[in-house]
Amino acid sequence: MEPAINSLNGYPNPPSHDEVYTQAGDVRPHWQYLLQSLSSLGFEAIEDRQMKASRILRDDGANYKLLDSPDAQNVWKLNPIPLLIDSEEWGLIESAIQERSELFNLILEDLYGPQTLIKHRVIPPELVLSNPSFLRPAFPFTAHDHQSLILHAIDLVRNSAGEAIVIADRTQSPSGAGYALENRVVMTRVFPSLFRESHVHRLAHFFTQLRFKLNSLNPNGGIPRVVILTPGPHNESYFEHAYLSNYLGFPLLQGKDLTVREGLVWMKSLDGLKRVDVILRRIDDVYLDPVELRGDSLIGIPGIMEVIRSGRVIVANPVGSAFLENPALYRYLPAIGKHLQGREPRLKSAQTWWCGDPNDLEYVLAHLPELFIKHCYRKPGFYSVCGPELDEHKLTAWRKRIIKRPWHYVAQECIQKSSAPTWYQGQILPRPSELRVFALAGEGEYVMMPGGLTRASLEESPKMVSSQPGLLFKDTWVIASEPEKAAPSRPSALPEDVVEIQAELSSRVAENIFWLGRYAERAEATLRYMRTLFLQFNRVEPLPERAYRTLLRGLTQLTNTQPGFLVEDEALFKNPETELFSLIKDPERVGSVASSLTLMLNAAEEVQEQMTSDTQRIINDIGDEIGYLNEQFQPGMWSAPEEALDPLVTALLALSGLVQESMLRDYAWHFMDLGRRIERTTQMSAQIRSLFVPCYFEEEEEILVEALLMTNESINTYRRRFHSTPEINKGLAMLLMDTNNPRSILYQLHEVGVHMKNLPGSDSVLPAHAKTILEATTAIQLSDLKILATKKHHDQRLILDELMARVQYLLSATSDSLTDRYFDHSQGPQMLVQNTLYQD
């Protein structure tokens, strides 16, 4: 076969070992098929696929938030050229990694147990005992009949000689496996045939094994309940937490969703406490239990350490495993391997000097400008630094720092990483890369994900690769020598009702879904009302002044943004633009469209794992539209401003349509729709009070009735039905009483009542929230339309006003009562002794 060398025209001579080319300049066999395929695709097509990949990732909400700019949504950058590894080499890596994971498990169990590594002088005591991530509260460490270290991630690079070298181990809550899976999903969509023909090992089986493993850890017997514990949406890898939750089918919970009672861990679900048996945690060790670890942690579960010690919950990875990330261990790893496994590990680690050793310290201080300096434990604000990049001044500062606390630092050789072909600005260029692989405790030995997460840098020779700007990700293809057979059979099946119990909803999720519904409806109501305002203002005939002012006042009342137009300010009514635009686009102003939408997006983020990818796409669009509002609503744009609002109304309609059409009729749906209906009733009552209560001349009232019908999408029906100009009594008939109009208040109340019957625990005595809805419904049904429309007192329809005020009150009471009954409002934790702050 002709080598596909032409496809890499312009590929410069790589500075180090290259993944594609041998030193003689030949393409390695396992790259040939891919390069040929890419070359026949052509560069334009590759660019096109790259864009497609970005779009899919964005639609999936895939991001990795950078720590230094927590608000930035950084869409995952996936490079269209994967990293390829041939089967034979993979086989070697696999067995070496299995050996390493086994060794790290033994280290963990030794240091939190008999400590023979210290007692037999294999490692100096300070290496362990001075490290803040060695957690004494993890004693007595509960040993189980399974490996303690469940998941292990290893960062590999290839040095200039082409050898695989470990530069980091991740052991407390390794991230990246979910991102690797998402990369794979996107790649198979973007390059379906290329992927199929390349005989790539599949990843799915690894996740089946992970799901099985977590279920099998159940210490309590019965059907296991496994949950994923996240610090919340502000965490940089929250996307992955939600993604894994969906993929594995385990609920995604925060610390406040869990509680310790009767010596067990429980999930606060809508229908009460449910026992939790296994926790896959994505929060750091020291935050897990404020009673014994960091007292100021608000994301942990108070009291869980004692449940762990008594063996009644399994946390994976176990508390204390962060210590294994200490790079100082590398210095002693050959000796540790001999001591614990009877042999030196096959896989090399980066050459490491531990400053706690006097000779190493001397070497490090003398060679600092050539070395890579790392901390022995991780902490926000700690970054590794590269000696060659430091000036004299900084070097001196580092020397001082190291001399002061030598135990806390290591230095490593600077490794010239191998380069991999990378798509960059329309070319394929060699770029340094590293690979994170994942091992999982299996039955007996560790099993590996056949692939991993490859990270490459856009810069030609970056000093370090981590999740920093200018970083991109690649799928990793382990090329099978022959097509892979059908997926291996599942490990022994689990009871069927496992699925059933996983459908439970935590109170926090229910609450966020409820508010997601309310804010979406609130934003929609405001948008619709605004659209009507703009349309009415731009009529051919100028609006009568009273109607004009009433419409504006209605906006202030609807959005609860007093004083606004409730003040008799002539200048304001003359030039309302600033106030109107502020109510559209100012996110700081509670009640504005932008504010309601932002709150809605926050609620959506809290329940990301409940979103389908279609929903996610609409949510993304809404996020983008908020950004455009600011550009579009600039002073002086009076021509058809209502059109600028249309895309948002459409997006919100798409969202509610999707909810209506594709959401399972489970608790989540009931709460979403309850939120929506309760909000709509509240909004309509406010509108009726603002526009229908004041008594004006017929032609003025006509305008107001028309406005309200337009806002609530009932104007055409009205015309068809009544063949008359809008009148208040008929308007009320349609918007208040008509049980066939899905926009009428009575219709909303009916739906609310139906939802309530489906909530947990509603089969007994009528709960408070059902009583208030019953009262509201009855009050409307018993009222006389004619009296409501005609009975006047001092130019006000007082009876109508009283009725609507009562409805508003009852709805707000309903919302409060639902909150009391179903959502978790226990007070936050505080420390018994305020000042036992954890320090390190």
């Binding site: 001075s130 009291g303 606390r405 002794v833 036992t836």
Partner: protein, 297 residues
Amino acid sequence: MRYEIRHTTAYEYSEEVTHCYNLGYVLPRETPRQSIIDTKIIVTPRADQAMVRHDYFHNRFYHFSIEEPHDALDVTVHSVLEVADLPNVDIQSGPICSEVFNCLKTMETEETLSAREYVIESPFIKWNDKIRAYAQPSFDPNLPFLSCVMNLTQRIFSDFTYDPGFTNVSTPLAEVLEHKRGVCQDFAHVAIACMRSLGYAARYVSGYLETLPPPGQKKLVGADATHAWFSAFIPTLGWVDFDPTNNAMTGKQHLTTAWGRDYSDVPPLKGILFGGGDTSTLKVEVDVNQVQDDPAP
């Protein structure tokens, strides 16, 4: 000699606490000179879950939760200890400072290796040049180590003022050193930081001290106190206790509860509560009394 200890910790909260989780070092530990005859813990309201365990340092700790609403918490511990006389230690004999320093670095007995945990920084013990400069004059490399530790103990006793209002458990050492004020726990921390800054091993000991009333007066109930001091390590001899608050090596009246690297390893009581309002009042009462041994059967 037999001692009976009653130790009460009582909190009253300004608002109801719905539930709480706590952990305390309130149970005396076995030591070569101290054996535990009996211990009883009474928690009011009754604890829903409770467990006694041994920690990393082989201290006993008590973990309990109360899962019903309450507005006060009372933890009372009764302990009966049998305490042997301390062997006489001649502080003028034994290895000199430089020998202790070198042994700690080079000896590889299990005991010495584990003592190295107490030479390095710990959560509450960090030092700077000022601490080292304060410690230096006490430690002449050619003098017997124990006499130097005693010298440090004496200097802390005379340089520092006992002032319960000045510090709380989180006052940094540097501040204690600058103002030379604090309580027993601060003095123990200062001594430990001084010793570690020079490369010696020192640990924190919490316990009780029996106080004796002035001659002719009756002892007041609840007048005794929880106490803290420190212990210094000599590779050939083991750990020897010193009490800088009382300018002495520890005596018969010192009863040990627990030890660790510093206070944070062995707090009498800590925890997390839900609710409870903004304020709470704390009352601690301790009685330490000698009792007659059980008559022989």
